[in-house]
């Protein structure tokens, strides 16, 4: 499997092929339902958001807490379709890649193409396996959301498949 390093650039996205299995290494932000809603509402009303989405990769995950001495708990992907209503606006604000599981809506697929972004899928229900591909984890925003807070994760050889380009 080919190694891809984050953050991604539009040129790097061009080298990806649909259906290609690759290993991602580098920084991502996590966000799921509640964080998406907050980001979306802030952007919509012209407010500042606590993280920059420019060139950013979002991983749809709400991890389990780390066991003592561990970096992170189980951390597999959640169903991406629930983020669909918010995704086009986030892409407009510079988001370049997403990692999740399952199909996206037609609107999102079109927006991904329009912004030359990419949607990766990874293996759902394999959170223990995927936890070994995370090298650091730190909450960076929306701490009050608990497992739905935005984390900065550092991935190393994290396996994904290019689903939508």
């Amino acid at each position: 499997m080919r190694n891809i390093f984050l953050p991604l650039t539009k040129d790097a996205v061009k080298t990806l092929k649909s259906g290609e299995m690759v290993l991602l290494s580098g920084p991502v932000l996590t966000a799921r339902d509640a964080a998406h809603k907050r980001l979306f509402e802030a952007l919509k009303s012209g407010k500042k958001i606590p993280v920059s989405l420019k060139g950013e990769t979002l991983y749809y995950v709400g991890p389990t807490p780390p066991r003592p001495g561990e970096i992170i708990g189980s951390c597999g992907p959640t169903t991406s379709a629930r983020m669909d209503p918010f995704t086009p606006l986030l892409l407009k604000h510079g988001l370049i890649a997403m990692i999740g599981k399952g199909e996206r809506s037609k609107d999102v697929n079109q927006a991904i193409k329009k912004h030359k972004a990419v949607y990766f899928i990874t293996i759902g229900g394999a959170g223990a396996y995927l936890s070994e591909k995370v090298k650091s984890a730190k909450i960076v925003a929306y701490k009050d959301l608990g497992p739905e807070a935005i984390y900065r994760l550092e991935l190393k050889y994290f396996p994904v498949i290019t689903e939508v380009l």
Partner: protein, 280 residues
Amino acid sequence: MIRIVDSGSIKDTVRDLFIKANTSLRPDLLKGLKDARKKESGKKSRYALDVIIKNAFIARKKMLAICQDTGMAVVYLRIGQSLMIKGDLKKAVSKGVELAYKEGYFRSSVVNDPLIRENTGTNLPPIIYTDIAPGNKIAIKVAVKGFGCENVSKTRMFRPTDPVSSIEDFVVNSVKEAGSRPCPPVYLGIGMGGTLDKAVLLSKEAIFRPLGKHSKNAHIARLEKSLLEKINRLKVGPMGMGGKCTALGVSVLTYPTHIAGLPVAVNISCHATRTAEATI
């Protein structure tokens, strides 16, 4: 004979069952996944199954949650009518759940209100179902209910005169529409008959049946086999990667119903269907 059980032992058992269910994949499901791996030929579908099988071993070894969605805690109690419980039963169950999620480092996935949506931080409250049975024991079954697959489960009220084929179409289409969202290969629980609520409950209880076992009613066992064949012809495959194995099994439970109705509930349960049970 009347028997007395302390609610403390119920609390401990509930805690142990949730830790087990969350970290140790059911042996029948692990076997089902390994069998599926042998049948698949596609590179990606085999890869998905390899990762899922490795995941089960890592989870067990490290006592990590099989899936980060450690679910809503659902508890089924079948209480012997000759059993006396010392203490508060529901409080004991709740405490057992709270301890399991704290000690197991599982995710708190419950919000206080469907609209206000503040995380309770304890994974409480659980959902508790109680039933009374003869005897002086208490049977405790727990389910870790993740919502990736819960969100794609379905019910429909059929006409009593509808052909079985229309029920089969409904079930097969539900799995098709769900696609890769419920984390296939899935274990399908189906409830047929009773009332709307009874059919749903049956569909939930159905997935406790060990994979590979069929209904004792010949016509229902035939239906289970026919459904499995049809679903696996959909070619959704492991995690939507295509292939022969979209479902690991189909388990149908039935109940008598009304002359005017035929409720059907389809509980689509992920490859990490997590349950555990014990009797005190």
